[in-house]
Amino acid sequence: MADLNVNGQVIALDEDGFLEDAGVWNEEVALALAATEDVSELTEDHWKVINYLRNYYEQFGVAPMIRKLCKETGYDLKKIYELFPSGPAKGACKIAGLLKPTGCV
């Protein structure tokens, strides 16, 4: 995948469009990542999901279970897909700046 250009700064992405380095994430990077996922703007609903994911990731070093994400944000899976068409892992986690999921998932 081509790297992202955010205000002149080049942000490295892996072949699936996830950040190579989770440390470079900020709100502008999120917007640029959203554009790669056909999400044209980040609404309050989007940010609720993104912020939850980031807080969990910061605390535990891994993404939360999808069930937990739905419960804690109050959005069912259908709503998550409406917000992030590629779904919770490939869409929401990517825009939230989490690294690509690993293991047998």
């Binding site: 072949e15 535990f60 070093g61 891994v62 279970m65 690993t102 047998c104 998932v105």
Partner: protein, 535 residues
């Protein structure tokens, strides 16, 4: 590009053009036998060709196999490979030396194995994917460098291959076109095993050259050794997950279940593939419901290496496999359990029950068992009250290779299905003759560049065809839900991907999941369906 019918092992040494391009694939069954029912291969990008080795068949499996920048780098690469190749035939490789030598030296080239290989069949019988093609390349290289006749007479005695970066890199890629399912070994009249040779090539790449797919090594074994799980789940994350699931079980199913944790002296230490907690938590939930209802004395472990049964080293690197196997065994020893029971994960069955058995020292070894006979025992002895009428929809069973072919556990899972479903039907063929899901040996989690295309369209093609075959009576009736039971995390991931890739869930109501989920769905004591698609 070469017409695949004219492709010869020595062609791997030809300069850098793509050797073959897949075109006429094996036809699928109805309704996927009509044009336009399956997506085309993604176009290969120039940037992939420049960076990786895409010159075998246009797919990139190894994301750490990078083209050299100088002649020196190329020479070093080839030199390390040859060095490693020599080593696999030495006593240092004693774990596998005898079967390796038998398979290397005694092949009669009868091609019985080709007919057994799902990838060869799915590819439209492309020469490149014959199980013996890869082996022949390896034999030619060994002959050229390590035999007197090969050194002196070269092509006159079959040592006719040019060995350069492209040859070795293509061979490395070709080692990742085999699922290591050993169906070919089962049919070989001489009992030879081409998958050993594929695995040895992977080993040389990893152990001697430091090259292995990232999802298996860096983000697999290494992450597991660092955090306790290849998913990256740490102990605090694991504890948080269990706590959440306990609340969830109570809210959803009205049951109070406490996952027994780090219980010293328990009879059973249950080891799950941690991917289940992330992607399919209903699986460990179902295990907990069944084990509690049957009154088993069991525990989970929250210790480092105690909550993830995976061992990816099995697919590419003996030293990583051993490190992980021994640490998992130590967790069980410290808990003082009678036995380790492996949940629904095929390669963990093989890793813990067969491979680790030879790696661990005899003293303090804890017996390792499959969950399947234990589950059948619960059903057989009526410790669970089950109503098969609750599973009143077509169900078929995928046999994970490591469980059936590697370990001979064939009957318990079918006995259970016959007892808990009204419309169970077998795939053809099944049991020890099953076909791999197409995700075996790491493919399920390798998604680099266009590799998922190879999996979805080629290595998993036979499985998809079998699924379609099993459901022919109701396939096109989207009112009828259909369930592919795959008691293995890796197989489940592959089947999820093919159902999505071919839109079989969306169009035809085909679902997938494990065995324990179906068992819980049949429990008389469950007030609501456990399977979400029935809600």
């Amino acid at each position: 590009m070469i017409d695949h019918k004219d492709l010869r092992p020595k062609d791997l040494g030809n300069p850098d053009q793509q050797l073959i391009k897949l075109q006429e694939l094996m036809p699928l069954a109805a309704p996927y036998d009509k044009p336009g029912m399956e997506p085309d291969f993604k176009e290969i990008k120039d940037s992939w060709k420049e960076k990786y080795c895409a010159s075998l068949d246009g797919f990139v499996g190894i994301d750490t196999l990078i083209r050299p920048k100088s002649k020196e780098e190329e020479e070093e690469f080839v030199g390390k490979f040859l060095n490693g190749l020599e080593k696999i035939f030495s006593d240092a490789n004693n774990g596998v030396l005898q079967p390796l030598l038998l398979s290397f030296e005694y092949c009669a080239k009868c091609n019985t194995c080709s007919e057994a290989c799902h990838t060869f069949a799915a590819s439209g019988k492309n020469e490149l994917y014959r199980p013996i093609f890869r082996s022949e390349v390896l034999r030619k290289i060994a002959k050229k460098y390590f035999t007197t006749s090969g050194k002196f007479f070269g092509s006159l005695v079959g040592a006719d291959i040019d060995v350069n970066w492209e040859t070795v890199a293509r061979l490395g890629e070709l080692a990742y076109r085999c699922n290591l399912c050993r169906r070919c070994a089962q049919t070989c009249p001489l009992g030879l095993d081409n998958s050993i040779l594929a695995k040895e090539i992977r080993k040389i790449f990893s152990q001697e050259m430091g090259i292995a797919p990232n999802p298996l090594h860096e983000k697999g074994s290494m992450l597991q050794l660092k955090t306790g799980s290849s998913t990256g789940i740490t102990k605090p994350a694991f504890l948080d997950t269990l706590e959440f699931l306990e609340e969830d079980i109570e809210e959803k199913y009205g049951r109070k279940i406490k996952f027994p944790l780090d219980k010293k002296g328990a009879d059973i230490l249950l080891l799950h593939n941690a991917g289940e907690f992330m992607a399919w938590p209903e699986n460990p939930i179902a295990f907990a419901i069944l084990f509690e209802e049957a009154g088993l004395d069991w525990t989970l472990s929250s210790e480092m290496m105690g909550y993830d049964n995976v061992n990816y080293g099995l697919w590419y690197d003996d030293t990583q496999a051993k490190k992980i196997a021994l640490q998992q065994m130590r967790v069980a020893q410290e808990l003082g359990v009678n036995r380790i029971v492996i949940g629904e994960c095929g390669h963990a069955h093989k890793a813990s029950a067969i491979v680790a058995d030879r790696m661990a020292a005899a003293e303090g070894k804890i017996p390792v068992e499959s969950c399947l006979p234990i589950l059948w025992d619960m059903v057989r002895t009526n410790r669970l009250k089950l109503d098969p009428g609750k599973n009143n929809f077509p169900v078929t069973l995928h046999d994970p290779c490591n469980v059936v072919r590697q370990m001979g556990i064939v009957q318990p899972q079918r006995n259970i299905l016959k007892a808990i479903c009204t419309r169970f039907r077998e795939m053809t063929p099944h049991g020890v003759d099953n076909y791999c899901c197409g995700g075996g040996s790491g493919f399920a989690i390798m998604n680099h560049c266009n590799f998922s295309d190879f999996r979805n369209k080629v290595s998993a093609r036979m499985k998809f065809k079998q699924i379609l075959g099993a459901f022919q009576d109701t396939m096109e009736n989207s009112e009828v839900p259909k369930y592919v039971c795959a008691p293995c995390s890796n197989c489940k991931g592959t089947i999820r991907d093919i159902l999505e890739y071919y839109q079989a869930s969306a169009k035809f109501n085909v679902h997938f999941g494990g065995l324990v989920e179906l068992m819980v769905n049949a429990l008389v004591s469950m007030e609501k369906p456990f399977l979400e698609f029935l809600e």
